[in-house]
Amino acid sequence: MEDLTLTLKQQIIEALNLEEISPEDIDNDAPLFGDGLGLDSIDALEIIVILDRYYGIKLENPAEGKSIFKSINTIADYIAKNRTK
């Protein structure tokens, strides 16, 4: 799981161009949207691309993302349970 959260953080940092942020800066339980990392709706769509591209998870309805994208840990949990690759 630790490997997965680290990989996920690296993928998010790369896809979202979070230039001044390193994986250690992101707390696994901290909120990603709003306060925390300050991600927005287009970032959520980029995370949907990450799920599809690296883990074979298709999320067609962005609204489903709301509960899944709370934190790195919630995304990693979702990936562990649903990944097809």
């Binding site: 161009n17 287009i42 970032d43 769509l45 980029e46």
Partner: protein, 565 residues
């Protein structure tokens, strides 16, 4: 008074305005489900030209996109008597992606790519036009922006006639981009409906030829047009329709809304757009006016939509009707609107067009028959340049004075960011064009007094390369159907007007934002557009100039702040 001399629509429903109007009156839609279409892995629904239509439209020596523009203009010219070869006749081309299909290695037209400015020049030359063509690239509101520009240029006397043509093609480029935004409906779209699932895309070209008229004329005339940015988010509209409400307020000042027969809405059938429009309509006290929403017949024709849908709604009013909203059955928005899937009788001769697009931009146009055009060209105030900046890969000059820097190319932009902004990490998410625009404007604004800086500045930028860096990056993400992962943020930046939206958002400027593409850096055209726009604006200040990037290390930003005195 600026009036409509002639119109044309070229779409899968017909090659003239009348053919299109008759088809829509008969309830026909061009939308069809598509599967395995040109390497796109998802099923979607769109309105596209069939092979016979493509052949019928084809003009030898021109791409499909160019041919559709030429056919549309050619047919419109049959209905009016103007001198296209006069230097006082303007060509204004409204398009989001023009010839982009020719950049795609999988396209039959691969290799025939011309930038939008060069494309417009080639089309102008075909008609023997000599004035410098102007391309409006303002995302979904391009068609309305182009007409507002035509109104200003004609009212100011710069030209006598303006040919406004809006056109775009359904391509894997745009389909994949909208797929990445999860906004494409697999089924026929349902504007304003509770079960709406998103939009459909559509092929189309539409032309309006504008000329000068008088109050005795029985033609449609532009009363006024305004643009306003939400300054909210580059890909999500303000939930309460902030910019649309603001633009409506300015256009409807001194107008009796009782006279308005129809509101021709954007009605894309996405969750956000229709909801936002309903709020803007309610907030502006327009809830009782019937809506015309035509995406159920044509899909979203992008650069054509602001022209095409206006022509049809107008043509219907000429016959005393508002066209049925195809696809609508049960209201699914919270703002109160007057919408019907049945034809509605209407004998009023005034039409309101509203439209919104990526980059947080919104546009409003009011037309009427025998109207009083309100665009004031008797504005006697002077426009002066208060500050200017020039950034190249090797140098930075502010008001003619060189600034010492240590890096060049893309690294220079990061250096400037750290020195002049530093705390806006969104900068790193932007493409080179937006980075350049944000930097140049921020450095200029820092030279203004606190009081001046807090005033809303309009933003009008020009370039030649459009969004070529983002265009090529986006194509890379869709080149392989087994590795098809279009990125929404890359696609967003394939709309060059995002750069203007980024400036508006960064500074909370809720004024006009527009992006124009020219075939070359022509100071005269840029200054004319900037001046007529600022004089027609309620704002005092305008950030304007050239912002062009052809690759991450090759760029040119030369912008200034113009102020009314």
């Amino acid at each position: 008074m600026i009036e409509i001399l002639a119109t044309n629509i070229v779409s899968p429903l017909g090659l003239t305005t009348e053919e299109n109007y008759r088809a829509v009156r008969a309830g026909r839609s061009a939308l069809e489900p598509l599967c395995d279409w040109r390497g796109i892995p998802n099923k979607f629904t769109a309105s596209i030209f069939n092979k016979e239509q493509v052949r019928a439209i084809k003009v030898e020596g021109f791409t499909h996109f160019e041919s559709s523009v030429i056919r549309s203009i050619q047919e419109a010219l049959l209905h009016c008597d103007i001198d296209v070869t006069s230097p006082r006749t303007a060509l204004i081309l409204s398009t989001t992606k023009a010839n982009v299909d020719a950049l795609d290695p999988k396209s039959e037209e691969y290799g025939e790519y011309l930038s939008p400015g060069a494309t417009a020049k080639k089309i102008a030359a075909h008609f023997g036009m000599v004035s410098e063509p102007i391309v409006v690239c303002n995302a979904c509101i391009s068609g309305v922006t182009a007409q507002i520009l035509a109104n200003r240029l004609l009212s100011a006397g710069t030209y006598d006639v303006a040919i406004v043509c809006g056109a775009d093609s359904v391509t894997p480029f745009v389909v994949s981009g909208f797929l990445s935004f999860k906004t494409l409906s697999p089924m026929e779209c349902k504007p304003f409906d509770i079960e709406r699932l998103g939009l459909n895309l559509g092929d189309g070209a539409a032309t309006i030829i504008f000329g000068k008229g008088n109050s005795a004329s029985n033609r449609w005339q532009i009363v006024d047009g305004q643009l306003s940015n939400d300054a909210y988010h580059t890909s999500t509209p303000s939930p309460v329709g902030e910019g649309t409400v603001e633009a409506l307020k300015r256009v409807l000042d001194r107008v009796d809304v009782e006279d308005i027969g129809v509101i021709c809405v954007h009605g894309t059938a996405t969750m956000f757009n229709d909801q936002m429009e309903s709020k803007a309509i309610e907030r502006s006290g327009l809830s009782d006016i019937p809506l015309s929403a035509l995406k159920g017949y044509y899909g979203h024709t992008l650069g054509a939509s602001g022209v095409l849908e206006t022509i049809l709604a107008m043509r219907a009013l000429d016959d005393g009707v508002v066209l049925p909203v195809r696809g609508f059955s049960e209201i699914g928005v919270s703002g109160r609107v007057n919408i019907s899937n049945q034809e509605v009788a209407c004998n009023k001769k005034s039409l309101l067009k509203i439209i919104s697009g990526f980059g947080s931009c919104n546009g409003v146009l009011l037309y009427a028959k025998g109207a009083q055009n309100r665009t004031s060209n008797s504005n006697t105030c002077e426009v002066v340049c208060t500050d200017s900046i020039h950034i190249t890969p090797e140098s930075v000059e502010v008001n003619g004075e060189s600034i010492a820097t240590t890096s060049t190319g893309a690294a220079l932009l990061k250096e400037l960011y750290k020195r002049y902004i530093g705390d806006y990490t969104k900068f790193y998410k932007m493409d080179a064009l937006s980075r350049l625009a944000i930097l140049a404007s921020s450095i200029l604004l820092q030279r203004e007094s606190e009081a001046d800086r807090s005033k809303t500045h309009d933003i009008i930028l020009f370039n030649n390369s459009s969004s070529i860096i983002a265009d090529l990056n986006h194509l890379k993400t869709i080149s392989d159907s087994d590795n098809f992962y279009p990125s929404p943020s890359i696609f967003l930046h394939t709309l060059p007007n995002i750069a203007t939206g980024e400036i508006a958002i960064h500074n909370s400027f809720k004024g006009e934002t527009s992006l124009y593409i020219l075939n070359e850096k022509c100071e005269e055209v840029m200054n004319t557009i900037a001046t007529v726009s600022l004089l027609a604006s309620s704002n005092e200040k305008l950030i304007t100039g050239w912002v062009d990037c052809c690759d991450d290390d090759t760029f040119d930003a030369e912008i200034k702040i113009l102020t009314k005195k």
